[in-house]
């Protein structure tokens, strides 16, 4: 390694900083819209005239729904990158797959937590066994927890990449079957497609939800970008270590040891 050993102390770049600032501003705007500018979901029952609806709990959906969508985006990205890795066998695909899986798992965990917290006041339960999307997401979360455990347990980077790619592809291929089986399982679901349709969709509500998609999309992009760079640096660091180790190993040959070993049987 004759390269200059000039280093920096950041994974940031001009572009990623700009992205970070925009994301933070976006989050602040989203909070403003979600908590201050939108109305709670309150409707009048058509016959009794009672107030019904989700009330202020609806404000959780501006976070929960985009998180859920981007969880799936991240996992699909992971599967595509994994397939790319198995075909092309390049570090880029592997680093991307690992990054997408890790960020996706964090998102997925948050989807389950925010969903559960929302479900308590609205569905009157923390957990609904018969719900298709809930169960599918949970199984997905467990599969990717396994993915991360496998990758951490495998020392050889190539084996780790190959095994991870297979697990990610199996997980994503298994997903439609899981979904189908849970759907038939109880054939009932609280997550009616109308969860959002039922809302009194005002322009502002819809706009806030779209803003949520945009902002969480930015959060995903920022996290992916930086997690990818961390993965890339880990690889370079290991590669650098190997180059150093080769040089050291070659320099370390001790004539005495060699002669002793060679003379051993003589």
């Amino acid at each position: 390694m004759t390269e200059t050993m000039e280093t920096t102390d950041t994974t940031g770049s001009r572009g990623s900083r700009l992205l970070g600032v925009v994301t933070l501003l976006g989050l602040a705007t989203l909070l403003l819209f979600a908590f201050a500018l939108t109305e709670p979901d309150v409707r009048l029952h058509p016959t009794t005239g009672q107030e019904i609806g989700q009330f202020d709990a609806v404000r959780l959906l501006y976070l929960h729904v985009p998180l859920a969508v981007f969880t799936y985006v991240a996992f699909v990205l992971c599967a595509v990158a994994s397939a790319g890795y198995l075909v092309k066998r390049t570090a880029w695909f592997d680093t991307m797959a690992y990054a997408a899986a890790e960020v996706g798992t964090v998102f997925c965990g948050l989807v389950l937590v925010t969903g559960s917290i929302w479900g308590r006041p609205v569905w009157n339960t923390w957990w609904e066994w018969g719900d298709v999307r809930l169960m599918t997401t949970l199984v997905l979360f467990l599969m990717f927890t396994g993915y991360l455990a496998l990758r951490r347990a495998t020392v050889d980077p190539r084996a780790s990449a190959r095994r991870g790619a297979v697990v990610a592809l199996v997980a994503v291929l298994d997903l439609p079957i899981v979904n189908r089986s849970v759907e038939w399982w109880e054939n009932r679901t609280l997550h009616q497609k109308s969860t959002l349709g039922e809302l009194k969709i005002q322009d502002l509500t819809l706009f806030t939800l779209m803003l949520g998609f945009l902002v969480l999309g930015l959060v995903l992009a920022w996290l992916l970008l930086h997690r990818f760079r961390v993965g890339w640096l880990e690889r370079e660091d290991a590669g650098h270590g190997v180059a150093t180790a080769i040089a050291e190993r070659r320099a370390d040959i001790d004539e005495g040891d060699v002669d002793a070993a060679v003379g051993e049987g003589a």
């Binding site: 396994g146 496998l150 190539r158 190959r162 291929l173 079957i177 189908r180």
Partner: protein, 224 residues
């Protein structure tokens, strides 16, 4: 192609012969399977009506636990003395190796299922109303579990944490098999008015995907 099946048969016969000699399944896994049924009985307060209602689910959970043991054993047979290296050096196609290993696990699972079926009839008082559905479900689910398990066994092989990693990797993937086989048994044992044959379709899809996908992916895992 004939070479493929000859290799697969060779590997399967070898694994089954080892099982016939070592009797790990018969002396350890089978008693464990019955023990699980008894433990469920203790946990659910020994009310036979409750046990009978839950029999399909308990049966398949017991099958999955035993399958984990059978798969661990299938992996450790190759790792005991570097036999896996020998298999790689033999030039045998990884897909043939996969089919052979999975077939041996399949046969062992079927034996366990027969035993467990007898177990739920005797211990839980279940009655087989549709024998054909029971047999078809048992076979298809065994294919699905054996293939997925063999693939994941290869995934976790060579890792120090294999015993703990395999369950968390494998069991979520098998969730649809558990659900499908349980519902099919609900119908076959007359527990619930569901269409068991429709569930069989889902199991068949899973089994086909697991067999084809496993055979394809196995090469990427074994050839490291």
């Amino acid at each position: 192609m004939s070479r493929f099946f000859a290799d697969a048969r060779l590997v399967a016969a070898k694994d089954l012969r080892i099982e016939a000699r070592s009797r790990v399944l018969l002396n350890q896994v089978a008693p464990f399977a019955l023990l699980v049924l008894v433990l469920f009985g203790f946990a659910l307060d020994a009310d036979q009506r409750t046990l009978r209602a839950f029999a399909p689910g308990l049966f398949w959970v017991a099958v999955l636990f035993c399958a984990l043991l059978a798969i661990q054993r299938s992996v450790s047979v190759e790792q005991a003395d570097g036999a896996l290296t020998g298999l790689r050096l033999s030039g045998m196609s990884p897909a043939a190796l996969f089919v052979g290993k999975a077939s041996a696990v399949f046969v062992q699972l079927v034996v366990l299922e027969v035993l467990l079926t007898a177990g739920i009839i005797v211990l839980y008082g279940s009655e087989v109303e549709q024998p054909l559905l029971v047999v078809a479900t048992g076979l298809l689910a065994a294919v699905a579990v054996a293939c997925t398990g063999t693939l994941y066994g290869a995934l976790a092989s060579g890792l120090g944490v294999r015993e703990t990693l395999l369950p968390i990797l494998l069991l979520p993937v098998l969730a649809p098999v558990l659900i499908g086989a349980t519902r099919a048994f609900d119908d076959a044992l007359g527990n619930a008015a569901v269409d068991g044959w429709a569930w069989l379709g889902l199991l068949a899809v899973f089994a086909v995907v697991a067999t084809a996908g496993g055979a394809l992916a196995h090469g990427a895992l074994v050839d490291e």
